[in-house]
Amino acid sequence: MSWGSWENFLAMGGYALYVWGSYAVTLALVIAELALLALRKRNAVERIR
């Protein structure tokens, strides 16, 4: 599958909003989950001390 150019890849055949909207939200949620976990661990350790 060759896209030809960066612009083509980013445009996703006109469906950029839908494709990148999906992938971006997924990535954001995964990062949020990991960040919340790090915060939770830090708070738990703080409570112990």
Partner: protein, 246 residues
């Protein structure tokens, strides 16, 4: 040679193991998703009918699979904890719920974003999306019930009953929604009909599914560690860890 199966059933011994496993599975998840995304964007061809919008399935379908799989696993651990009164099993069930809810939400969001260019509306009442929505409510119910109960042992057991009742109901809910959908819509609208699968599309989906699975294991283990630290905070090993983690 007899294996001591119960060695890791205490939080104290499981805690360090969970940490190492989380790291290992996290790396595997990163690699698997990398491969999956490469397959999805640089190997799989453009679809004749749906153009590039179909590429959302590389997240949508694996997320949906994980959301259902995680619910069953959660019910399994919860049931184990209820039957054998083991603390760690209940902690695992509680650790799984938020990640399961996350994948359910991702499945709904991507389903909606896939439905808009394909069917013209941001929401379609097809069988799978509707079932996913109800599954999200089931996850929220589990989390809300556990949050409302102060005593962790009662919370574990009550959640377990709810999860087990839920897991029995998930197939019933799915089939009744499927029936409802075909009765009312003539089965023409279905997001589960992905473009007829070229092998490479299926491969991409499967690899992403593994990637999500490894990620789930890592996230759940990390959350289980937090729960262990919270619940066992007055124990010796937790104190040592907290001082050492400075």
């Amino acid at each position: 040679m007899s294996i001591n199966w119960f060695k890791y059933s205490s939080p104290q011994t499981f805690f360090p193991l969970a940490g190492k496993l989380a790291l290992g599975f996290g790396v595997l998840a990163f690699l698997a998703c990398g491969v999956g995304l490469y397959l999805g964007f640089f190997v799989a061809p453009t679809d004749a009918q749906q153009g590039e919008s179909y590429r959302i399935i590389f997240i949508h379908v694996p997320a949906a699979w994980m959301s259902m799989f995680l619910y069953v696993v959660m019910a399994f651990w919860a049931g184990l904890g209820l039957a054998f009164n083991t603390r760690l099993s209940g902690m695992m069930a509680s650790a799984i719920a938020p990640t399961g809810a996350l994948f359910t939400f991702i499945s709904l969001w991507t389903g909606s974003f896939w439905g808009k260019p394909t069917w013209g509306t941001w929401w379609v009442w097809d069988a799978r999306l509707t079932s996913e929505l109800i599954l999200l409510f089931l996850y929220f119910g589990f989390m809300a019930l556990q949050a409302a109960i102060d005593d962790p042992r009662r919370a574990d057991k009550a959640g377990a009953v709810l999860a087990l009742v839920g897991v029995v109901n998930v197939p019933i809910i799915y089939f009744s929604v499927k029936w409802w959908n075909t009765l009312h819509q003539g089965a023409s609208v279905s997001l589960s009909k992905a473009p007829s699968m070229a092998a490479v599309m299926l491969a991409g989906m499967l690899v992403m599914a593994f990637g999500f699975w490894f990620y789930s294991i890592a996230a759940v283990l990390l959350r289980a560690r937090c729960i262990m630290l919270e619940r066992e905070r007055s124990s010796e090993w937790a104190g040592q860890y907290a001082r050492g983690a400075a």
